[in-house]
Amino acid sequence: MKTICFYFQIHQPYRLKRYRFFNIGRDHYYYDDYSNEDIMQQIAARSFIPANRMLLDLINTYKGKFKFAISVSGVALDQMEVYAPEVIDGLKELSRTGAVEFLAETYSHSLSSLIDPVEFQSQVQQQTQKIKLLFDQKPKVLRNTEMIFSDDIAEMAYNMGYTKMVSEGAKLILSWRSPNYVYKSENQPNMKLLLRNSQFSDDISLRFSDYTWKEYPLTAEKYISWIAATSPQEEVFNIFMNYETFGNLQPAHSGIFEFMKALPKFAFDKGIEFSTPSQIMDTHKPVGTVSVPLAISWSDEERDLSRWLGNKLQKSAFNTLYEISERIRLANDRRLKKDWQYLQSSDHFYYMSTKHFYDGSMHSKFSPYQSPYDAFNNYMNVLSDFIDRVKAQFPDSVDNEELNSLLTTIHNQEREIKKLQSELKKVLTENEEKLVEKTPVK
């Protein structure tokens, strides 16, 4: 019985405003509100809101047999709360149908899994808490930022309590094998994996409106027939894409909404179902293991980390950022913690990429900066100010561990004092009469 597993990803970063070095130490607000608001509202109007409506209609039409998964980063949710709350309302309705599974990911859409396990865990916790709060679901399947996956990450995820993950069906890890099965991690056999079928996914998200593509125009009937034509043992079709495919990456006039609306009918006609990742991994046995010593992702031809950490600028910024992670975890300042979340978004590093800089191709479409140097410069200025603020709370002269132990001591002493105070109060009230001075009776 073939089944399609759709998964849509929603993310928008908090873009930084133009922040010059002379703002360091003076200006502690880093974000380009105008730009973030403008972009979020545009994308909501073009993509998220009509897509939410379309998917809700499909669920209702097929009485819950049409199912899929969604994952939203915490940072995107923060922005939507302020700039486009209708999107959250739409997602809430989708969640209430019971046909939509929300996945777990990092709050900031960050690369913390690559450098700081404690931060990674904290990020995932923060995000799942938010999802529970807004959509009343406790995510069971983990999706790391940009599908970044490795054996180490599998191990970390398992230690956090997850036994199911989704990632990219990269040739590097599958070689001749097909992504249309459930796999498990070789390193951590308790971790089940669903791997994205990049060909079928990109057919919709990248090639749908490309009229030079030999399969243009893509109709729902044709697409389903391809899936139906695969060998009978291949049962699982993982179609993972950015939610903005509907309306933004593939504009409405390309017919993407009509395509999607027609899809379930053709699928059901051929006996193909729709499932959520949890359902699939609970009911299917893994057919093999994958070993991923070096991290993969769903980005670019190489399916690796080069888009975010490919050059010296990116690496230096990344390392500088995470050097301060222990210290910021000790802080209690809410503003600082929020800034810490927003500065970790992988997009900041993405803008510093020099990969396609020389041919000026797709990179420039998504970056608010003129050049990768501009991106690096701006980010580092902001980071410098942020680091100064963290250090102002906890000065450099005190070492991290020493600091930690001092704080713990202070905390314990506080507790002790409280305990003693309440004991004292108890004793005093019991023996009040004995303690009151007897005034001499004249």
């Binding site: 010059r20 070095f21 002379f22 050059n311 010296k312 600028l313 690496k315 230096s316 910024a317 020099t354 800089f357 020389y358 050049s371 140097y373 690096f376 410069n377 580092m380 200025n381 410098s384």
Partner: protein, 319 residues
């Protein structure tokens, strides 16, 4: 015609006050040479030689290519000397092809000199690879601060006052940076006064004119090279700086910005952006190292052979 007692024309060997007379004499001599020898193409560089080129063309009937390294518009920042403009326009009107050193210059030629587009091509300059002696020059640094250098003629076209303004911004807020303005020119005294006015003279230094190897010594001892030109037809000095492994900041209004990627580009008037870039290279080691390595790699691939090939193709099309 003023001949000396041997019947020869005298040339001063530099740019004298009677320069128009000298160029005229030069073209007379050219006519004599043109009648004597056989050749296929005449190639004249900049306005000083245009009249000679035209004379040679009239004499021999061979095609004339003129090479525009700079126009009067660039030199005078919009207010050209009418005589020089006349000579330049005359040369462009009567030649067979015009080669410019950048798209910026090409645009000026097409728009301000009213030349047809098909007649004008761009062949970007390149840079000679460093000789081993120059490669061997070591960095001289007696100061522990980072050094930011402006190296060029201190004249209106090169935008020195923007460099001073950006330096002021940086120096007011940092302690670990020093500035150097190397070279001389008609605006040098004005710049010295400006620096004193801004109160940054303790960390802003002038070297005067640098000769030969001194230029490379200066470059190698710098941490940043800045060229805030208002209108630079090409500008080979940033390439030389990149060869010495110095991260560079150039203006969008220079010709070399068209072919360089591993430099920081700003508008010449955007003092804030320039100051920010200066601070960034001096403070974030990732930025400095990246620009240094990638810059050297990029400049090593810019060779004169490519320019030569393009010019050869133009010659072939004319003959």
């Amino acid at each position: 015609m003023n001949t000396n007692d041997l019947g020869c024309l005298e040339f001063s060997g530099r740019y004298p006050n009677n320069i128009l007379e000298e160029t005229n004499n030069y073209s007379i001599v050219t006519g004599v040479i043109a009648r004597t020898y056989e050749y296929d193409i005449i190639h004249a560089h900049d306005w000083l030689t245009y009249s000679s080129g035209l004379h040679a063309k009239n004499v021999s009937g061979k095609p004339l290519v003129i090479h525009v390294h700079a126009t009067e518009f660039d030199r005078s920042r919009g207010k050209p000397n009418p005589t020089v403009y006349g000579i330049e326009k005359n040369g462009m009107d009567h030649c067979d092809h015009i080669i410019c050193v950048s798209n910026l210059t090409r645009k000026t030629v097409i728009e301000n000199y009213h030349q047809p587009e098909w007649k004008v091509s761009t062949v970007h300059n390149a840079v000679e690879p460093l000789s081993p002696e120059i490669e061997a020059i070591e960095r001289i640094s007696n100061v522990k601060e980072k050094v930011i250098t402006f190296l060029g003629r201190i004249t209106m076209q090169k935008g020195p006052e923007f460099f001073v303004d950006a330096a002021t911004q940086v120096l007011r807020r940092t302690k670990h940076i020093r500035f150097v303005m190397a070279g001389s020119g008609d605006m040098m005294n004005q710049m010295i006064r400006l620096v004193a006015d801004r109160g940054i003279a303790d960390r802003f230094h002038f070297t005067g004119f640098l000769r030969g190897e001194q230029v490379y010594e200066m470059l190698k001892s710098s941490d940043v090279y800045v060229m805030p030109s208002v209108s630079e037809p090409f500008g080979i000095s940033p390439l030389e700086a990149m060869q010495c492994g110095v991260p560079s900041i150039i203006s969008y209004q220079s010709g070399c910005a068209e072919i360089l990627n591993n430099v920081i580009k700003t508008d010449y008037w955007d003092v804030d952006a320039m100051a920010d870039a200066m601070y960034s290279i001096c403070t974030y080691p990732g930025m400095a190292e990246f620009l240094k390595e990638e810059g050297k790699r990029e400049v090593d691939s810019i060779v004169w052979e490519d320019a030569g090939k393009k010019i050869r193709a133009i010659y072939d099309s004319l003959v």
